[in-house]
């Protein structure tokens, strides 16, 4: 049985019914996902990292207790599922790292962040894991904004503009944020059995069109009872963008430094970049969200 769906703007034919935008069955697809045996090691890897090996056309990704993914030429993924793994766990790493590898192999830059539509452009909320991206994105959803992606931003150049192609209509939300926004956990599933982060459907809040990037807000939290927004300028813009790639070591591991440089450099010229600092105090979250909206939307 084959399933056809779309993620990150790519048509997928898959032996696994992963979450994506459903589309009618047809002959054409960009990426073929099959279940099969993956090698223990690549015969010609030029990078051996922690839980991965890679060369210019192949990437072997080993997720402990879940699956091994062999991603080739940006158009094929072989998945060897571990015996004890649950489907949702395989899906989690397929949509995250494995698809980011596909993007990188195709010269599309996977950037770490969530994005929502503002007029006919989009805003990226970036920052390290735990900075509060999903929480801020959730606030913009409650304010009526449409989402393009949560966690991975697929960036490419189209008609001389850096655009973001929407990923798939689902987000991952930690239990504390679910509680904070009174989201119903009953209808949501944990991303993995032992992790209290929930898969949350975004179909009603999702936009399928690719949009030009207007600005990037790099979120971080400080142990102070104050907020701050500060524009990044000059060469630091590029450096900050590079630091916030989905996985900063991917371009080198896959021999895609040149494509990455071109896209990030273009983005640094096109978009404004800000550091947005929140307080680590959860009590100040509402005030911070309003502060962020005032600064981002005006």
């Amino acid at each position: 049985m084959k399933y056809y769906f779309k993620v990150f703007g790519l048509n997928i034919r898959s032996e696994f019914p992963f979450h994506g935008i459903k589309k009618p069955e047809e002959g054409f697809f960009d990426v073929d996902v099959v279940e099969g045996a993956t090698p223990f090691s690549l015969s010609n890897s030029n990078t051996i990292g922690i839980s991965f090996e890679s060369n210019d056309s192949q990437f072997l990704l080993k997720i402990p207790n879940v699956a091994t993914f062999l991603v080739e030429n940006g158009n094929k993924i072989i998945v060897q599922v571990d015996k004890q793994a649950e489907f949702r766990e395989v899906e989690l790493f397929f949509l995250g790292t494995a698809m980011s590898v596909v993007l990188m192999q195709r010269g599309i830059v996977p950037f770490h962040g969530s994005a929502f539509q503002k007029d006919n452009k989009c805003i990226i909320i970036s920052g390290h894991s735990g900075a509060g991206k999903s929480s801020l994105l959730r606030y913009f959803i409650t304010e009526g904004y449409k989402v393009l992606t949560d966690d991975v931003c697929a960036l490419s150049i189209n008609q001389n503009k850096v655009i973001l192609t929407p990923s798939y209509p689902s987000s991952k939300i930690w239990e504390d944020v679910m509680d904070k926004f009174d989201l119903e956990k009953r209808n949501s599933e944990q991303v993995r059995p032992n992790i209290r982060k929930y898969k949350y459907d975004l179909s009603d809040h999702f936009i399928e069109s690719s949009l030009e990037v207007e600005a990037i807000y790099i979120l971080n939290s400080k142990n102070v009872e104050a907020f701050d927004v500060d524009e990044v300028k000059g060469i630091n813009k590029f450096k900050e963008l590079q630091k916030n790639l989905y996985r900063p070591r991917f371009p080198e591991a896959m021999g895609r430094q040149k494509e990455t440089f071109i896209i990030l450099n273009h983005l640094a010229n096109q978009a404004k970049v800000f550091h947005l600092t929140r307080s680590s105090s959860i009590q100040l979250l509402d005030k911070f969200n309003q502060y962020a909206k005032q600064n981002i939307i005006g």
Partner: protein, 283 residues
């Protein structure tokens, strides 16, 4: 394959035992400038439990992994970090020295150049930890006595820090003491009594040599009064939001004013052996 370079010096301590002070002393000693290092730009290489260090090396998001899966990756991360460093990396940690589920040391010996282990009287630690965490002293005592105490152990939210196994105060002390690698034990109380002498021992241990001018400068610029003044003027990013200040008293023995006899006895009976060994308790 050639052996891994051993580039990591672990700055080890139970929380609130003077680790930050050692990092500031080292930063000032290694600084080329004749002025106090900014407390918010301490030139050591962060904390081992930083999620950012892990994220730098792994191909997936650490937030999609369980605590024990992360523990299984940590030795590999520190080996890579050591391998890619062109010199000594001073890395702070509050973790106890434990093994992961794969029976590997979380802090691999093959990447470890040395251990600087800072200890402090647990009676003072309990009081200081209570102020730092904004919790009653009794709760802090329970943590010191808890054999499975952990930091950043929340299941419902993502923490900037990785989950750290602390164990009880004594177990923490003995876990690091038993590691077979170059090791120096530093008592916080000795650092207070004669900072220059205690810090000189650390520098000689690390470098087999000491620059006396830099040493005196480092001690001068790391005085408790100066650190407190810096914190009052600029605030310190490592201070928890609800703690009044990070640099609080900087003295030994303040537990006597902030703890009941019964409370101190609870600590003493649990940690008697280590306290005697460290000179915190006379027989």
């Amino acid at each position: 394959m050639p052996p891994l370079p051993k580039n990591i010096v672990w700055l080890v301590s139970y929380p609130k035992s003077g680790n930050t002070w050692i990092r500031i002393l080292l930063s000032n000693y290694l600084s080329d400038e004749d002025k106090a290092v900014d407390i918010n730009s301490i030139q050591t290489s962060g904390i081992a439990s930083s999620r950012a260090i892990l994220e730098k090396y792994i191909p997936f998001l650490s937030s999609d992994l369980t605590f024990s899966e992360i523990d299984n990756l940590r030795p590999e991360v520190y080996k890579k970090l050591s391998e890619e460093s062109d010199g000594i990396k001073f890395i702070k940690t509050h973790d106890a020295f434990t093994k992961n589920k794969n029976q590997q040391d979380i802090f691999p010996i093959s990447a470890t150049r040395a251990i600087v282990h800072i200890v402090r009287n647990p009676l003072d630690v309990a009081v200081s930890f209570a102020h730092h965490s904004n919790i009653p002293v009794q709760k802090s005592i329970e943590r010191l006595n808890n054999h499975s105490a952990k930091l950043a152990n929340s299941f419902s939210r993502l923490n900037n820090q990785l989950r750290q196994k602390l164990l009880s105060w004594s177990e923490h002390y003995y876990s690091w003491k038993a590691v077979d690698t170059p090791y120096i034990l530093v008592r916080y109380e000795d650092l207070i009594a004669d900072t220059e002498a205690a810090f000189r021992k650390i520098i000689v241990f690390l470098y087999n040599d000491v620059d006396e001018v830099k040493l005196k400068q480092a001690v001068k610029y790391s005085s408790f009064e100066l650190l407190k003044e810096q914190e009052e003027n600029t605030s310190f990013k490592e201070k928890p939001i609800f703690a009044e200040s990070f640099f609080r008293k900087g003295i030994a023995g303040s537990w006597k004013e902030e703890m009941t006899l019964e409370q101190s006895n609870t600590i003493i009976s649990e940690h008697k052996k280590a306290m005697i060994e460290l000179g915190y308790l006379k027989l």
